[in-house]
Amino acid sequence: MISPREWIEHLNAHAEIARAGDDPEGVHHVRVAAGRLSVWLELGRRHMLRDDLRWLRRSAGPVRDIDVMLARRRDGDGGVVELHAELHAERKSARESLLAALASLRFRSLMAALAWAPDLDQELARDTLPKFERRVARASSALERAPDDPVALHRLRRALRRLRYALEWLGSDASALKRFQDDLGDLNDLAVMWRRVHPAPPESTHASAHASMNGDASASDLLHREIEERRSRFLKDWRAARIDREANARSGRS
């Protein structure tokens, strides 16, 4: 049987850290634990509580995105420093929303329901695993048809993450997937930052930050170049790994 207790405790512990607000890892791990528990439920073909876990992840998402951007600051870059003041203000607001979510009846009800959920049958979970694999295959095919589409990349990232969590719940080695998931995660973080500093309507304060970056175009160019390089590298590695998997499958090797 597969017990969720460890990850329920992890979620509880990091909700406390997120409430305290001193360590951004609290928010990050609330999202990770919620994601893992959602996969645990899906492995058991359970629908209830997954929407509540999705709500929790989304509540923490804006804070996490801003924390990642703030962590990438480059001291002395006038444009980014200007954006930082705005990011800090937004983080304050996003954090208030997150704190409200963590204090809510929905969160308390979710934690109670998870505590009472029965352990998962291992065999059932194994029988459900192919669904996660098919999702990765579909997302990978969609990315092949549209390699520049950020939505396709996001769907593959999400599918990989869920497959990785599913394998780990089953005690299987998911290290190869973790590498690809981490690469896509880093790429997504850069894309979030890019969308943030990309040209905004003139009346918004983003314009001043972007103008700063544009006046000294190197920061913006560097970011864009880094995104393109990482995307190309990921696609190359992913295609190579897929070809290896197909070759192994044809020769009967795992």
Binding site: D51, L105, A113, P118
Partner: protein, 167 residues
């Protein structure tokens, strides 16, 4: 709003391991309510929201309602408000057009009395037997989700819904 108040299906008795909160449905309870859901399907019931109490028997009963939940946009919510007597907080929380609330006696009867009759004070002895809200039964109400503002459209015992599922 089309509202379906559901009492959870038959559950195992409490044990030292489960306590009351973690009592799962019996196999018979699961089977019977599954058939009741097919009966609801034949009646054309669809849902855009399912709210349920966090107790395991309510979670498992709500799980069986999934075939009625909209594929696009259907959503479920867990709320401790359905594990206690009805309060304004519950009425403020619930949204949607076609909603199921999965809970427990005596609260589902109290909720029915509140919404249809406007009763806010519940005296268990007085209300005992007012509604034969057996396990797996469903009450269908329509109207605005406010005390005394809903009309009772139908009250389906589990047996009735199961019979419907056969035809």
């Amino acid at each position: 709003m089309e509202l379906y108040i559901v009492r959870h299906a038959e559950a195992e008795p409490a044990t030292p391991e489960t306590g009351d909160a973690a009592r799962p449905l019996t196999r018979r309870g699961r089977d019977r309510f599954g058939r009741s859901v097919r009966g609801l399907e034949r009646l054309g019931v669809t849902l855009d929201r399912v709210y349920h109490s966090p107790l395991l028997r309510a979670v498992e009963t709500a799980e069986l309602l999934v075939p009625l939940l909209d594929n696009e946009g259907g959503e479920s919510f867990v709320t401790q408000e359905l594990a206690r007597g009805p309060r304004e907080e519950l009425l403020e929380e619930v949204e949607g057009e076609r909603v199921a609330l999965v809970g427990h006696e005596p609260y589902v009867s109290e909720l029915l009395a509140l919404l249809v009759l406007g009763w806010r004070v519940f005296e268990p002895r007085a209300q005992q037997g007012l509604f034969e809200f057996e396990k797996g039964a469903v009450a269908h109400l329509t109207g605005e989700l406010q005390a005394g503002s809903m009309a009772l459209v139908a009250f389906w015992p589990s047996k009735t819904l199961r019979k419907l599922s056969k035809h």
